[in-house]
């Protein structure tokens, strides 16, 4: 029973490591081998500002985590070695601040945002999708399907801009930035602080939810419609099971295929956080990535890329766990 899961976990981890390797190699190529090599640029700029060449090179080595000197494969190995020790260098922009600290500091806020956004979107979409399917030949069903397709396909950032304009400028109902108000609450696991964090995450999360609930609605509607045609529900009816029990049978079977999509959507939303966080001035990983791109802070950029990759891998593993927890056909593979 456990071996099936262990085998899939091993698969996830292997794929994850390959993904991390590809992403980090890609960033190495980006910072070292692309024209306009940012490492070289930094060294030259420091020399131009009057720094002796060897000192300028040492500064670059601290920034990027490898000595930009000698054969390229040696530099690459040194860079990869640093990543294995989670030494991601220091920020180019704000000298002396380790990239790992910034990235790890920003990470939780993006997780809060993405999780709330997806959860709210998923719940709304699934509940409305069930109603749309069960009442599919009524006005309610038709209106829900239209409501589902309406915002479906509008990019989250467009909805984000509208929400930000309406609720932070026009009516100042929500904060215009930040992850919590440091004047009002101190960090800790208590009601006021969590409330404050959610208050700050509400608008950007709502932007995700509005942009994506329609997808869940339509997916759930078609899934419910197909399960409704299954014999086992008629069989349950003919056995005299209560409508509540039959609804449970229906819901659990219909929601199952949506969990695989959930994992993919987690990755997409995480990657898409760059726009949303920028719009709402929300200092998470996306914002960090955005500002590091703006200031050509390559060490910060590669750190953020790495973190996003790790988050997507973890999301995949969690989704798989969830999936196998509710599908016995996966759990009990022969």
């Amino acid at each position: 029973m456990m071996t099936g899961f262990a085998r899939r976990l091993a698969g996830h981890l292997t794929r994850g490591l390959v993904m991390i390797w590809v992403v980090t190699t890609f960033t190495f190529v980006l910072i070292r081998l692309m024209p306009g090599d940012p490492v070289q640029v930094q060294i030259e700029r420091n020399i131009a500002m009057g720094m002796p060449p060897d000192q300028a090179e040492a500064a670059a080595a601290v920034t990027y985590g490898f000595v930009p000197h000698g054969p390229m494969w040696k530099q690459y190995l040194e860079y990869m070695g640093g990543i294995l020790r989670f030494d991601l260098g220091v920020s180019v922009e704000s000298q002396g601040v380790p990239v790992a600290d910034r990235v790890l500091g920003a990470m939780p806020w993006t997780v809060v945002l993405v999780l709330t956004g997806i959860l709210v979107s998923f719940l709304i979409g699934v509940v409305l999708g069930v109603i749309a399917a069960i009442k599919r030949s009524t006005v309610v069903g038709h209106s829900l399907s239209i409501a589902g397709s309406l915002l479906h396909g509008v990019p989250p950032f467009v909805i984000g801009i509208i929400l930000a304009a309406l609720f932070t400028r026009q009516w100042r109902l929500f904060p215009s930035g930040g992850v919590y108000n440091a004047d009002e609450v101190a960090p800790g696991l208590y009601f006021d602080f969590i409330g404050n964090v959610l208050y700050h995450a509400a608008l950007p999360a709502a932007a995700y939810a509005l942009a994506t609930y329609g997808g869940w609605l339509l997916a759930m509607r078609s899934s419910v419609a197909s399960v409704l045609g299954d014999d086992f529900l008629l069989a349950a009816e003919l056995r005299g099971l209560t409508s509540l029990t039959r609804f449970r049978y229906l819901a659990r079977n219909a929601i199952l295929p949506l969990f695989t999509v959930l994992a993919i959507s987690f990755g997409l939303v995480f990657g898409g956080s760059i726009f949303i966080e920028r719009i709402f001035n929300y200092p998470g990983l996306g914002m960090l990535l955005f500002s590091s791109i703006g200031s050509r802070d390559y060490s910060m950029m590669s750190g953020a890329f790495l973190m996003i990759t790790v988050a997507v891998i973890v999301a995949n593993i969690l989704a798989d766990l969830l999936y196998s927890a509710i599908d016995p056909r996966v759990r009990r593979q022969a």
């Binding site: 069989a235 009816e237 056995r239 005299g240 659990r252 016995p328 056909r329």
Partner: protein, 331 residues
Amino acid sequence: MTITMVKAPAVSISGLTVAYKTDAGELPAVSQVDLELAAGTITGLVGESGSGKSTLALSLLGAVQKPGRVTAGSVVVDGIGDMAKLAGEELRTVRGAKIGYVFQAAQNSLNPLKTVGKQLLDLGKAHKVRDLKGLLRHAKDLLDRMGLNADRVLDAYQHELSGGMRQRVGIMFALVLNAHVLVLDEPTTALDMITQANILQIVRDVHKEQGLTTLVVTHDVGVVAEVAHKIAVMYGGRIVEHGPVTQVLAEPRHPYTRGLIHAIPRLTGDISAAKALPGTPPTLGTIPKQGCVFRERCALRMEVCETVEPPAQRMLDGRTVACHAVKEGAA
């Protein structure tokens, strides 16, 4: 295990018409059917695909599915009442507890995400069974008697059971609450010959042991020959012939029954004599609105068949036949 010897109830269907809403209007799939399931008997309902067998079987549980509905007639089960009029909680509690329905083996009549045992508990709770342990014991007993490893089956998911095992689990679900009317829709379709014979043996045994009134729906006359006391032949939504199995099979009177039986060499024993019935059965839209529904394929077609629907005539040997060409006394 206490065998409660409640007398099996009789089921009498009269004037039953069930129609489905289609683009061409509401069309009857079962039309003016009169059929008596005598208490304690096994009746085999045969007919080609689309003749309305499942629709009729579902109406025994008041469960005709949308867009269909009972437009006329009644299905009266002794001690319960007219199934066509029952609704709500009353209808729900009768299903499963008083009348059991068994799906075709290949169909998935179990929730794929729950073990058989868990679904058995759902059944017990839905019918307010207080003694759930007793229910479990009864289920195990039934499964044992049907030759299954009860503990293993109760702990299994649907995908871990073979077609024949699923079928037996289906029968267990239909009987575990001591229902006395059992409806089996295509109980052996899609099963291999050995499993098929096995299941039919089981049907016969539980029918006798539990004291049931049973309806077996099938398109296979051989199945009826094997298990049933009575046979009802359905064509285009009508019962065209109904009577004791041995007599009807030995000497079919309705031309359709004859065609059906002659199409099967293993019943007549003469392969060269076996010939398929010419033509194809009608569908909802092509069932004639007046006259005999079988006339298009009938060798005995007469003038009167075009306009007058043949009434069911009771023969001297107790069977009923609906055919203008069949006269009492003539064979």
